[in-house]
Symmetry: C2
């Protein structure tokens, strides 16, 4: 899969998985990987980024089967950002679509 296509969109895909419920990193890796080819390393970098940017907060939680999980929770700022970026993405698709028609 063309690596470049994902640039800028993966963030949104991750954030979008957090709209309804908090999720932990490994879980997100699997969710995203079902559709797009992404490695754990890439995912965790994104998670670090969106945390540094204040779009998510995190907390640890014990697990029955394995190491503790770090859960990611979408903040209001993150919700706003996601909404605006999704709109911008759709706008971009429309314009690019004209050039690719």
């Amino acid at each position: 899969m063309n690596t470049q296509f994902k640039k800028g969109v993966l963030d949104l895909c991750v954030l979008n998985q957090l709209v309804r419920e908090d999720r932990y990193g490994y879980e997100l890796t699997e969710l995203i990987s079902k559709e797009l080819e992404v490695t754990a390393g890439t995912l965790y970098l994104i998670l670090k980024r969106i945390k540094d940017d204040g779009y998510v907060t995190t907390y640890l939680q014990e697990s029955d089967s394995g190491p503790a999980r770090k859960y990611y929770h979408l903040t209001e700022k993150g919700r706003d950002y996601l909404q605006k970026q999704k709109a911008e993405w759709l706008e971009f698709l429309e314009k690019a679509g004209k050039l690719l028609a």
Copy 2:
């Protein structure tokens, strides 16, 4: 406009403008700029890249009003590449769409 969204797609937009007719660099800059924010520098890098990759050939032609124009012509290889990449782009959009729904 989110810079990252364009990664990998600008190539296709440029190549797609060459399907029906040869065009010169400056002309392409204007065509693309009508829809997407791109600077000349970026466009010319793309043109250099797709030439190095053998997707286009070039030739100079005098102009009535200004310096000679460098025209870009789509090769068979370029046509194939464009077709495949467009398909891959659509496939990517479908998958990303699921994650963004």
